[in-house]
């Protein structure tokens, strides 16, 4: 198994340790790992880390997924603002 995984977040290539969650990759991509904006437009990042708050939802290869419960795979296309 390769030690790193390359994926794309909003079109930008991001390299993470193999086995990382998409939530971790959002942070590696820069800043505090913002996943989406709230209904009034505030930036939001993963909060509960365990699939409860739904604040980390993103689109992964076109499917809506929770970043904290999704493991990065080679070539994955992640879109924030899901």
């Amino acid at each position: 198994m390769s030690v790193t995984t390359l994926l794309h977040i909003d079109g930008r290539p991001v390299r993470v340790k193999a086995g990382s969650s998409v939530a971790a990759a959002l942070h590696v991509n820069g800043g505090m790992g913002v996943a989406r904006t709230s209904v009034t437009g505030e930036p939001r990042a993963p909060f509960c880390g365990m699939g409860v708050c739904q604040e980390c939802r993103v689109r992964v290869d076109g499917r809506r997924m929770l970043a904290c419960q999704t493991v990065c795979a080679e070539g994955m296309q992640v879109e924030t603002s899901a």
């Binding site: 505090m32 993963p46 509960c48």
Partner: protein, 431 residues
């Protein structure tokens, strides 16, 4: 309309944490066909998470191997429950498909979530749950060099701080809301549970302060500092991240959706009611672990083992673990006594603090509401993606409102999966 697959098993276990794993392994020698489903990418539950930032202990590996060793146990990771189409069936979904699973015995091992309470700034990127931060780090979140403040209540704060420090972060403060007397009393009680005392010693921390709580978090688009109140004194600490947790709340949603009765746990929080055999109020449905009340992983293990034996009719096997369960039930009770939340925490949110993070509903909008239903219908509180799992717990603590009754879908699901509820069924082999 394409047909929806219908699968069958003897024992269906929801949740692959310590309770679920123990239940599966206890039930396996009966030869029953067992399916364990869990929404996380790998079995292990909240403690035994895998990932580049996790050092999986040998015990976790041993349990995983035990699951793999039994040919009649099938583990479906990355799978969540969406609905209950009939009394002996659940609708499930993973990343690619939806299917219906029919069971003869069902064991709910859905664990607990953190109680997250609102304070000014709690929606800023960089604020996470305490156990949440631990989970994110295990899954690879890099925190090396970050200054972190951990705040809230309970032993989980120390565990989260230890995980952060091991990952290279600088833990600049651990703020525990309970008093020194309460925490000292808890530490003294640990002579009855020597293993826990050793664990507590290894987690001891020079930055730990009691009677200490969050006032607010400041920052422009991300956490820059936190204001804490210790005793009567306020102080501001510069930091990059704040991890907060105020104890745990049992995940009862699935049980409630199935109409299992609830009981008040020691904390006052609602938990799934179970008898000595871990049976819920409904025939054929058992519950074990933290969904029956928060009480630590050893208790979850004992309860899971009893539930697994009981579900396959092995009463003798179940009985052998009763003493162990009683031992850890007593520990749970001590934990709850020591870390009771101070009423003053209800003053943390200000009028403009958002209580519902999904629909951005501030405290001021809830002040005049008569209860949860009123808040939901007129203020949209709890109407967002988390379905009140965060704000419902907060509103219960702040206003004493009974938590929202769950409705299907239990978690946001794809249209194709939901359409399967009405689609013809395609019976597939036993799993």
């Amino acid at each position: 309309m394409t047909a929806m697959p219908l699968a069958h098993c003897d024992v269906l276990i929801v949740g692959a944490g310590r309770a679920g794993m123990a239940a599966a392994v206890a039930a396996a020698p009966s030869g029953a066909s067992i399916v364990v489903i869990d929404d996380n990418p790998a079995p292990g539950g909240q403690i035994w998470r895998d990932g580049p930032g996790a050092a999986l202990p040998p015990a976790a590996r041993k349990w995983r191997e035990a699951l793999a060793h039994h040919a009649n146990i099938r583990v479906c990771s990355g799978t969540r429950v969406v609905a209950a189409p009939s009394h002996d069936e659940l609708l499930l979904e993973d990343a690619v498909r939806g299917w219906r699973m029919q069971w003869k015995k069902l064991i709910l091992c859905t664990g607990a979530r953190e109680l997250l309470l609102p304070f000014p700034g709690w929606t800023l990127p960089g604020v996470t749950g305490a156990g949440g931060l631990q989970a994110l780090i295990k899954a690879g979140l890099p925190v090396r060099g970050e200054r972190i403040v951990v705040a809230g209540s309970g032993p989980l704060l120390l565990a989260a701080a230890a995980t952060a420090r091991a990952a290279g972060a600088k833990v600049v403060r651990i703020a525990e809301q309970a008093s020194l007397a309460a925490v000292a009393g808890f530490a003294a009680s640990l002579v009855r549970w020597p293993g826990k005392a050793v664990q507590a010693l290894t987690l001891a921390d020079a930055q730990y302060r009691t009677s200490s709580r969050i006032v607010s978090v400041q920052g422009d688009g991300r956490v820059e500092s936190v204001r804490l109140r210790q005793g009567g004194r306020d102080m501001e600490i510069r930091c990059d991240r704040v991890a907060c947790g105020f104890g745990l709340t049992p995940n009862t949603q699935l049980g409630q959706m199935l109409c299992c009765a609830l009981a008040s746990a020691d904390t006052g929080a609602q938990a799934l009611a179970v008898d000595a055999w871990q049976r819920t109020s409904l025939p054929g449905i058992y519950a074990a672990g933290e969904c029956t009340g928060f009480g630590g992983s050893e208790r979850a293990l004992a309860q899971g083992t009893i539930a697994g034996h009981a579900a396959v009719g092995n009463e003798r096997g179940a009985r052998q673990h009763e003493r162990e369960r009683a031992h850890w039930n007593a520990f749970a009770a001590q934990l709850h006594r020591s870390f009771t939340l101070a009423p003053g925490l209800r003053q943390m949110p200000k009028p403009d603090t958002l209580v519902c993070r999904c629909e951005d509903v501030p405290l001021s909008a809830l002040a005049g509401c008569s209860g949860w239903t009123d808040a939901k219908l007129h203020r949209r509180c709890g109407m967002g993606a988390c379905q009140g799992r965060v704000c419902g717990d907060a509103a219960q603590f702040l206003f004493g409102w009974a938590p929202p009754a769950p409705r299907p879908p239990l978690s946001p699901a794809r249209i194709a999966t939901l359409a399967g509820l009405a689609a013809p069924l395609n019976d597939v082999d036993r799993q």
